[in-house]
């Protein structure tokens, strides 16, 4: 009774339906691109590409960390708040008397310190969850609420406006015409995908998510693995926070990263990573985020209001979950 029926793998004809189910998000993305090239005005331009990629980059950066957390069977609600903290810290550093006196060092610290702080708060999430065996959704809810408070306290709730070209390169700079944050996004996706597949840590993440008890009995350091995925999620959120404030030339701890946790979770879901853990696709999350972004852009470019785009976004998530369910039962 415990034996699942063995599925014949070799010699089976190419399974078209199975292919589309597995690559549902990718198929939908390609179909939508084809539609846009045919019907959306001015779609085939470098500018359109850059606009879309710039807008999606922060979501993708955050969803890289989110994918790893979800791969262990957890979830991280605190990412938006960690973005706000990182976004609040950076201008505090380079606008401080010290930062102004030593611009080079000040700018360097404005990159490193906020990201490190977000990472450490992520570590705290992991520690809280493993040490007290709190459910991740509750454990990170603490930081979700407290984190935004910390961001506001840091800035006294004030809007910080700045102009610092060196620092803002992360959000506004271009390398060979490609926005710098898009390069960061692609680098993070590639690194995380490679890490999941090829490294010990990646395999341990999937083992913990696949069967935590069995992983522990096989010697996998379960708590350490969880500590690290929440730390990485925090680091990703920190980077995303810097990108957002440099695009805006201002930092408002009330708004930076607001609702980001849900956008990132949506991207992961649409990308086909199951929330039960044990399986994960970082590239899938990238595709998921791109799909959500492109749907929104397409609707806007064709005169459909943003409110309607939200409804479509919901439908895409429902569709992704539905295709996953079907994948499971067939």
């Amino acid at each position: 009774m415990t034996d699942a029926p063995t599925i014949a793998r070799k010699g089976a004809p190419f399974d078209v339906a199975g292919f589309f189910r597995r690559y549902a998000a990718l198929t939908a993305l390609l179909a939508l691109l084809a539609f846009d090239f045919a019907f959306t005005p001015h779609f085939a331009s470098l500018q359109t590409l850059n606009v879309n990629l710039t807008q999606v980059a922060t979501i993708v950066i955050v969803s890289v960390g989110m994918t790893l957390v979800i791969a262990t069977g957890g979830i991280d609600l605190s990412v938006g708040s960690l973005m706000a903290i990182a976004g609040a810290l950076a201008p505090l550093i380079f606008l401080s008397p010290f930062g102004k006196a030593h611009p080079g060092l000040g700018d360097a610290l404005a990159f490193v310190v906020p990201v490190a702080a977000a990472g450490l708060l992520g570590t705290f999430n992991g520690w809280f969850i493993t040490r007290f065996r709190v459910q991740p959704i509750v454990g990170t809810l603490v930081m979700f609420i407290a984190g935004r408070g910390i961001g506001q306290v840091l800035t006294n709730g004030n809007l910080q406006v700045f102009k610092n070209p060196t620092f803002q390169f992360i959000g506004l700079g271009r390398v060979f015409g490609v926005p710098f944050q898009v390069i960061i996004m692609l680098a993070l996706v590639a690194a995380a995908a490679w890490m999941l597949k090829r490294t010990l840590f990646g395999r341990e993440i999937l083992a913990v998510g696949g069967n935590e008890r069995a992983a522990r009995l096989a010697g996998v350091p379960v708590s350490r693995v969880k500590l690290w995925v929440y730390t990485i999620s925090g680091l990703c959120a920190g980077v995303a926070g810097l990108v957002v404030v440099s695009i805006n030339s201002s930092s408002d701890a009330n708004l930076v990263g607001l609702g980001m946790e849900l956008d990132a979770i949506a991207a992961v879901a649409v990308g086909g990573t199951p929330f039960t853990g044990g399986q994960a696709s970082v590239v899938g999350s990238l595709i998921g985020a791109l799909l959500i972004q492109l749907v929104r852009y397409t609707l806007l470019a064709n005169g459909v209001p943003d409110a309607a785009a939200l409804v479509v976004k919901g439908l895409i998530i429902a569709g992704a979950v539905w295709s996953q369910q079907r994948g499971k039962t067939t």
């Binding site: 034996d3 070799k10 490294t199 010990l200 999937l206 083992a207 696949g210 069967n211 096989a218 996998v220």
Partner: protein, 515 residues
């Protein structure tokens, strides 16, 4: 036979799951005001029989008469309304709600459209006082101990005017004093004419409180007798299905034992773990298969998990390769050269969505890694070697392990440990739920490994496996090591006698039967 007409008559009950018989022609008869014990090994069919009775499962054959009427409950709720209440090991109540609410859940008293708390609280307190439980029924259930929670569950059952109360291992999480209180409640029920079906693994308890006992084995009810007419030894032999005098020989894939024993690889003494293990001792030498026998609930798995660092012991010493150690995590034990194949493959063994390749190398992966990156060529070589050596049948090494048969899953888990090159391998029920062919294969593999110098500690509920496979046998009973038998003395009757704490019988059996 009891003098009055029986309250419950289950006759020739059949139940099949996917073609395999979970119950075949099982029968059970309970008189009013009688405490009937229901015992048997894991998988004997006790729970299935109860679930058929309460309507959780539908039956494929047979008849059930309750209070002289044929019944066919569609659900446990219907059975409860019909007078049969079940109290599970895991308490199925709502911890955040008050005791009174729990007792009246689903049939609250109302007054002017509002809940009549006064009446419910008073009646709840009243019904609990009948069982000598005097607590504030307005406090949430979770404020009370497991024993009290169980009393509340029983009070709830009784307030449903139950004529039959089924208790499925109610004592497994209770301490001795709490067990005594529970037994008082059971006697109180009996005095009020309520019948009880009592399922337990602790045989001593049966004699304290039960009137009769029904033994199940392999989906059949093999015997029913008055408690006074049967001693523990006969009870055990009925449960295990072994005639006291004869044991089939060459029933397993174990060849003759080598008898060569090397250096000590494990010695654990005075182990004390929670409530289940009080004083356990085992020793394993290189090249030896040591059997750890005991009835369900005797603490075998707890001992194994303690040695492996999964649940560190409260007291006692563990020596591995002659050095005293105290593993706090499985990874500590693995570093010492210990491997552990758990009893529950699905919950504690396989990573279902990972490939056979990944499952095999999960334990050794850190050693196949340089700078954090897995050396896939090395990994592949190890996987190929063990796939061939253990004759693991899979479509490819990339097949997901959950798609494999039970026997092949078990071989993958064995491979997981063997590739770490352990000095001591702990096998918890290594052949449970595996078809006959694969079983013999795994058994001969275990022997082969021991002959190559591996120390094996093998937990098994199958007497043949222990008797034929083990070079030395430790018997656990109620959390204590009660016997340490060499292969020559470890016959079925001696082991069963030890399980029953029957010292004279152990001596007689091991002296009389040297094979």
């Amino acid at each position: 036979m009891p003098p009055t007409a029986p309250l419950l008559v289950m006759r020739d009950i059949d139940k099949r799951f996917l073609g395999t018989h979970a119950l075949s022609a099982a029968s059970l008869e309970v008189a009013p005001g009688e405490i009937m014990a229901l015992v048997g090994q894991n998988g004997a069919g006790k729970s299935t029989l109860i679930k058929v009775l309460t309507g959780a499962y539908s039956r494929d054959g047979g008849s059930i008469l309750f209070a002289s009427r044929p019944i066919d409950f569609a659900s446990p709720q219907e059975a409860q309304r019909g007078g049969i209440s079940t109290i599970y090991q895991e308490i199925n109540l709502v911890p955040f709600r008050s005791v009174a609410e729990n007792i009246f859940l689903g049939r609250e008293y109302r007054r002017y459209g509002l809940l009549d708390w006064g009446r419910m609280n008073a009646e709840a307190a009243e019904v609990l006082r009948r069982f000598a439980v005097d607590i504030d029924v307005r406090r949430p259930l979770m404020d009370f101990s497991t024993a009290i929670q169980q009393m509340v569950a029983i009070a709830r059952a009784v307030s449903f005017k139950a004529q039959l109360v089924i208790m499925d291992e109610p004592t497994s999480s209770l301490d001795e004093r709490e067990v005594a209180v529970l037994f008082d409640v059971m006697r109180q029920l009996r005095a009020e004419g309520v019948a009880v079906i009592f399922i337990t693994h602790r045989l001593d308890e049966l004699y304290q409180v039960c009137d009769r006992v029904t033994v199940m084995r392999d989906g059949r009810t093999v015997t029913t007798s008055r408690m006074a007419d049967v001693d523990k030894l006969h009870l055990i032999s009925a449960m295990l299905g072994r005639d006291l005098e004869t044991v089939r020989t060459h029933a397993t894939g174990f060849s003759a034992t080598s008898g060569k024993a090397g250096d000590e690889v494990l010695s654990a003494e005075g182990l004390q773990i929670g409530r289940k293990v009080r004083s356990a001792r085992v020793e394993v030498r290189a090249g030896q298969i040591v059997g750890l026998a005991g009835l369900l609930g005797s603490g075998r798995t707890e001992v194994a998990r303690a040695i492996f660092g999964a649940d560190p012991p409260d007291a006692g010493t563990i020596r591995v390769m002659g050095r005293e150690v105290s593993p706090r995590e499985p990874s500590d034990a693995i570093a010492l050269g210990v491997g552990y194949c758990s009893e529950d493959r699905k919950a504690d063994g396989i990573i279902p969505d990972m490939s056979v390749r990944e499952n095999i190398t999960l334990g050794i992966l850190p050693r196949l890694t340089s700078m954090g990156v897995v050396d896939e060529a090395k990994q592949r070589a190890i996987v190929d070697r063990f796939m061939a050596r253990l004759a693991i049948k899979a479509a490819s090494v990339e097949q997901k392990i959950r798609e494999l048969s039970g026997g092949n899953q078990q071989k993958v888990l064995l491979a997981r440990w063997l590739c770490t090159d352990p000095k001591l391998l702990i096998l918890d029920e290594p052949t449970r739920g595996i078809d006959v062919g694969a079983k013999a294969e795994i058994q001969s593999l275990i022997r082969e490994l021991a002959d190559q110098g591996l120390g094996v500690l093998m937990i098994s509920s199958e007497l043949e496996e222990i008797v034929e496979g083990a070079d030395r046998v430790f018997v656990l009973s109620d959390g204590r090591t009660v016997a340490d038998l060499p292969h020559s003395a470890a016959n079925a009757s001696a082991i069963m006698a030890a399980m029953a704490h029957d010292d004279a019988a152990i001596a007689a059996a091991s002296a009389g039967d040297h094979d």
